[in-house]
């Protein structure tokens, strides 16, 4: 039979009798007790032993209990350990200060060992419940993040599609989504969307979107028709208030024709083999909101090794610096020009590095896709 490791309690008090009393009472109930007689040693023991709970005296030689708890709460390794203060001081202000610093409870001296035991049990139970809730939520988010990432194709999955990609979700349930798919031998589709919000619901929607793309982006439909069909379904399935911006590149390497359909998304950048980069401005309605939505569309003749860049607004917008994407997109052109010599796979990463290496902090999910004809 498997036995659980006993719960470890650290007791810090300069009063030897209190230490012994608590040690004897709690160890009799199956707890492992570590005792220290001053604040500094207590703090070191907390970092070293990572106890499940700490009983901490306030008035001690050297570091006081208040100083010790401040150190513990400022360190990620010890910040979640529940601390109960043991104190001879029963004044309200002192208690309030302790709670403010992160204590979960107080035991006023003199105490009865049964009271200590009861409070230790209570706070261990609360701590276990909170930790398992947090762990459960983190596990679910990890699953979502894994599922989301496994849906995003990489260049090695589709060698004929000739693209490079940078994808980074700010939170585990990201709002950016992209897909790249083969429509026929010479035709590939490149789709990038940005959902409003970053919650779990959003990330489940990305799975639906992937299925919708597979159903609707076929040789039978024009790129604009595909986008309209996506819109019709999304209106029905998206939760209230949710929408997405998207852009869709339909590239026929046989006819050297590239069609861009834009649904409220920042403009894609065209970097011709010979010539300056420019924005393909095709304004359109957002996806998933209007039944009669109209999408911006443009078809251009392209040449081999021309490059196209699609990106999410996280690359060019900054709420902090009050930059919206019409201006941010213009600022992107010189950055993209500089990546001309970068190989296809590295180009998106170079752009991100160049933008966020300055003084701009990442505020949103960031996706950059570079497509080469």
């Amino acid at each position: 039979m498997q036995t659980r490791t006993p719960y470890k309690i650290l007791v810090v008090d300069d009063n030897l009798l209190n230490l012994k009393l608590i040690e004897k009472s709690l160890s009799k109930e199956g707890y492992t007790i570590i005792t220290e007689t001053d604040g500094t040693r207590g703090r070191h023991a907390a970092f070293r032993e990572r106890p499940d709970l700490i009983l901490l005296d306030i008035q001690m030689p050297g570091e006081t209990g208040f100083e010790v708890i401040t150190h513990l709460k400022n360190n990620a390794d010890t910040s979640t350990i529940p601390v109960i203060f043991l104190t001879g001081v029963s004044e309200v202000t002192s208690k309030l200060k302790g709670f403010e610093l992160g204590a979960v409870d107080y035991i006023t001296k003199p105490f009865h060992s049964l009271e200590v035991l009861a409070r230790v049990r209570l706070h261990l139970k609360l701590s276990i419940a909170t930790n398992s809730l947090i762990e459960d939520q983190a596990r679910r988010l990890r699953q979502v993040a894994e599922a989301q990432t496994s849906m995003l194709p990489l260049p090695e999955d589709l060698p004929g599609a000739s693209f490079g990609v940078y994808y980074k979700a700010l939170e585990e349930a990201g709002g950016d989504f992209y897909d790249i798919f083969r429509i026929s031998d010479n035709i590939f589709g490149y789709f990038l969307a940005d959902f409003s919000g970053h919650d779990i619901k959003t990330s489940y929607m990305t799975a639906s979107l992937k299925a919708l793309l597979a159903q609707n982006c076929t040789p039978v439909y024009s790129p604009e028709e595909s986008m309209k069909m996506l819109n019709d379904v999304l209106i029905r399935i998206l939760p209230g208030g949710k929408f997405l911006t998207a852009c869709y590149i339909h590239l026929n390497r046989g006819t050297r024709q590239l069609t861009v359909v834009n649904a409220g998304h920042p403009p894609i950048v065209y970097l011709p083999r010979a010539g300056d980069p420019y924005l393909i401005k095709t304004e359109g309605d957002i996806l998933g909101t209007f039944k009669d939505a109209r999408f911006g569309k443009q078809t251009i003749e392209v040449r081999e090794t021309d490059r196209f860049f699609m990106y999410s607004d996280g690359l060019v917008e900054s709420a902090e610096n009050k930059v919206t994407w019409p201006r941010g997109a213009e600022d992107l052109l010189p950055v993209i020009e500089k990546t001309r010599s970068a190989n296809l796979e590295n180009a998106p990463g170079c752009i991100v590095e160049s933008i966020f290496n300055t003084n701009t902090a990442v505020e949103d999910d960031v996706t950059v896709i570079c497509v080469e004809v």
Partner: protein
């Protein structure tokens, strides 16, 4: 108060309670020496602190009479009145001796 009563109060085995009583007696004697030194130097604050410490420890052990005497000693120190302190220390000493005899007899 004998060791059986103390063990029952602390919810411990008699042997464990005995260890705590020993520790209690030695720390209390040391605190009483602190009070004596403090009286000699008219150090009311340290005297009150040591008396407070005995009061708390005795209360934790369920030794109410000792706790009450130590409480009175603390009050005397806070009122800066050392005239009756020697008498109070004498009473405390007798209580400690009595505790020591009874708990040893119980073992």
């Amino acid at each position: 108060m004998d060791i059986k009563t103390i063990a029952a109060y602390l919810q411990l085995e008699e042997e464990e309670a005995g260890e705590l009583v020993e520790l209690f007696i030695s720390t209390t004697l040391s605190d009483m020496n602190k009070i004596r030194d403090a009286v000699r130097f008219n150090d009311f604050e340290n005297a009150a602190g040591a008396a407070h410490s005995i009061k708390g420890a005795a209360s934790s052990m369920g030794l109410d009479r000792i706790s009450s005497l130590a409480g009175q000693a603390e009050t005397l120190a806070k009122e800066e009145d050392f005239d009756q302190m020697e008498e109070m220390l004498g009473r405390l000493k007798r209580e400690i001796a009595s505790l020591s005899r009874r708990t040893e007899a119980g073992n």
